[in-house]
Symmetry: C2
Subunit: 489 residues, 2 copies
């Protein structure tokens, strides 16, 4: 088995960890992809050699230009191909001749436009396969591998390294997700814009990410799956080791048509994909926010043993909302046993509601909030806790006065530190009891700018504080669905 | 009819526009509500006189203290009551004797705890009604009326004046919503924390907000409705003039129990509330984000004449996602007629998808983006447009290089201005064609801090750019449901 993993990692090494890169189609025109992507690669701090290939330019972005691939003085691992569609086949043949093992075809105008494009794509793949070259794309935005400074990418931002991998059949979506990961202070292992999947397909990437030691959780955006059996086999195998969370698009007629013209994907039936998810343990989500929230939650939370939830809330309304969503998601808001109620009685005010949600009312603050969560975690009838509002735990009165909205001025670091400490205390309780504690809260004392700083600060600890009650409940459901899959297999 | 409106406004004047305020229960202890709320009222810039009433203090927060209400040298319009529950009845009686016309009872410990609390609440209401005094609460966080600087409130933030009203059976939720409105740069007309609704109920507030000239749209959080017929009558009447958007909680058994112990509300059946919404035109939402997004959209968007959507997208994946959600929400992603396709052909690249979503691919930028939207708006088969990603319209390459995430440093004002201009151009097209243009976009060039500044800047124009495709589609659905209600009645 270890041998197989090494083989897979080795196959993808030229793509994700190239020692040198050829760049056919590199350009001096800042409006062209051949400029934008080369520029982003350089700015991303790539450490190997880059060889722009362009018959008309002796120098591009400070790098010596080559008129032909064969003139490059060494054999690069990877070719980034940005030439017009009709030139791609011959470029791939040149790459093969040179001994290049991997290609990223950014260029669009292949199967997604039908007709001639379809034929070109077929020819291109045949040329690559005949020469033992793997191809990502065409019609894609490239890849990111922040840990190794490999940024063959369209957008000009640079997420930090971390455990979250993203793979998408849409450059647009892979960039969205990578960017959100960055903005929330989290880190990325790999971003893969799969494009038309002419040669390598989502199954190959999943298999690779399953082996990739840098990847802890896999987020996917999928428009269509063509190799059903292969997908079932690989997804099922990988998801036993790492959670896979997928947003599947094209489930409507309009969406399916759009997917076809977008990446030539056949969307397939929604019901079938649901069945695939049940069988493989894939967590299916219905929008981009869920994809991110659930992915990030897996990084730090122990898995629940079941679906029985205890809710502790600093605000009555949020408790009611959380309970509603739990019911809708078929989580059980359990009736707390007499023993737990009595333990809470010891420090709760006499008029507390003696129910689940445990409403902290206005009187329970500071350490008693953590005590309440721990009492509920300790209850054998409870598989985990939803904590609504960290305000009472934070005692914001201890912080200085609030900043003005939109100015970014104010207590800044002090507030971020305070929130991180509170969330980390909840995370410690989760770890101690081996039950998840999923927190949703506003930051009443913070302006919008400070709030983004708080989220960023939490991300730096791979922690997360959800914005709304329904998001926390959805995350709990996803954790318990995944736990259930692991128990079944 | 004008006479009736004046009567309603006059009834609520002492509550929302008091000329002077008595404050029984005012306190010098910064941990007590009697301090926090008085302090927030003063900091909020209230212009009338405030009379703290506390037998033990000669002075509170720089104001002369009064040992008894009867000693106050004038008759205040409003009493803010923060004394312990068992003292509330006698305080209300003192208020009545003094001729005070309205009371806000912050104090908790009434019907929501059952038993004695229930009796106290009944006695309190009887005393008030006997003296012609209206009561808000008990067990509430107070009110906000930013235009008149009346901030009888728990949280220490101050939204600017604007057209959005919030009414909630949860202080926690009303504060959440008011704060989000503020952080997004929008303005608030009134925030009402209705508490246990012992005297005034949600029906009364709805009727008032229906007449309130400062209110353009009403957001509500409801745990239970007791006066079914009255609610039907008033909500139906008000929603013919102003959109009412409601998040109803307590729909699950666990949620209903929590609602009972929270504000003594009887949650009632979910199915019944759905029927109420259909009959009254209320837009029911399922979480706090929807409540906000939809409320804000009503401020600037013309109503669609039907459910037929044109999607224009700057990113393939986002287009597919938008189409899917439209189908799920029973919006019709129409097949564009030959005429529209031909008009688009004139400036779209030859390989464009010739379908709906209209995928701008990488080649359509700047003015052509607006042109594409206008061509689709102009199509008689389309009732409005979802615009996915403003990146091509913005041409971010024209802006300077991106800032570092989380630092708040960078182009700031330039980027905010650029996005506001783009959104305003879409809003102008919407107005010109009298069809909505709902935009969702990321801001790829912006860091998290800048993004909050962008949202804030948009809010200052009562404009909104949604974060994700599913949110934009949901907003379109809400607009068309409301339009449908107006057409029916």
């Amino acid at each position: 088995l270890a041998g197989i993993s090494q083989e897979i990692l080795e196959k993808f090494r030229p793509l994700f960890n190239p020692r040198a890169i050829a760049f056919p189609g590199a350009s001096k025109d800042p409006g062209k992809w051949g400029y934008i992507i080369l520029n982003n690669l350089i700015k991303g701090g790539y450490r190997g050699k880059v060889y722009p290939v362009n018959p008309k330019e002796a120098e591009i972005l400070g790098l010596k230009g080559y008129s032909k691939i064969e003139h490059i003085p060494e054999t690069p691992d990877l070719a980034v191909i940005v030439v017009p569609p009709r030139s791609v086949v011959s470029v791939v043949k040149d790459c093969v001749k040179k001994g290049i093992k991997a290609g990223i075809v950014i260029t669009a105008g292949f199967a997604e436009i039908g007709g001639e494009g379809k034929d070109l794509q077929k020819e291109m793949v045949e040329a690559a396969r005949a020469g033992g070259m793997i191809l990502l794309g065409p019609n894609c935005n490239g890849i990111m591998n922040p840990a190794d400074h490999v940024h063959v990418q369209f957008p000009s931002f640079y997420p930090q390294p971390g455990p979250i991998a993203v793979i998408a059949q849409s450059g647009n979506v892979v960039d969205s997700v990578a960017r959100q990961i960055m903005l929330r202070g989290h880190g990325l292992s790999k971003a893969i814009s799969a494009g038309n999947q002419a040669d390598l397909t989502i199954e190959d990437y999943l298999e690779y990410l399953g082996e990739d030691p840098q990847t802890g959780v896999i987020l996917g955006y999928v428009e269509g799956i063509e190799k059903g059996q292969k997908f079932l086999h690989i997804a099922g195998k990988v998801s036993r080791r790492k959670p896979i969370i997928i947003l599947k698009a094209g489930s409507s007629e309009a969406g399916a048509q759009a997917a076809m013209s977008h990446t030539a994907s056949i969307a397939g039936s929604d019901v079938v994909f649901d069945a695939v998810c049940r069988q493989t343990g894939i967590i299916r989500v219905s929008n981009l926010n869920e994809l991110l929230n659930i992915g990030m939650a897996f990084l730090r939370q122990p898995l629940p043993r079941g679906r029985r939830v205890g809710i502790v809330t600093g605000g009555g309304g949020w408790g009611v909302l959380a309970a509603d969503v739990c019911a809708r998601l078929r989580l059980e808001v359990v009736c707390l046993p007499e023993k737990t109620i009595k333990e809470l009685d010891a420090f709760m005010p006499p008029w507390w509601n003696r129910g689940n949600p445990v409403d902290l009312v206005a009187n329970v603050q500071g350490d008693n909030v953590f005590k309440a969560v721990e009492v509920v975690l300790d209850c054998p009838k409870v598989d985990g806790v939803l904590m609504m509002s960290i305000m009472p735990a934070l005692q914001p009165g201890r912080l200085s006065s609030p900043a003005k909205p939109g100015t970014g001025k104010g207590r800044g670091g002090e507030a971020v530190q305070a929130v991180v400490e509170v969330i980390e205390r909840f995370n410690s309780l989760a770890e101690k009891h081996q039950k998840p504690v999923i927190v949703a809260s506003e930051h009443m004392f913070a302006d919008a700018v400070m709030e983004t700083q708080i989220n960023y600060g939490l991300g730096q600890h791979q922690a997360i504080c959800h914005q709304m009650p329904h998001q926390a409940a959805r995350v709990f459901q996803a954790l318990s669905n995944y736990a259930d899959y692991l128990n079944r297999t």
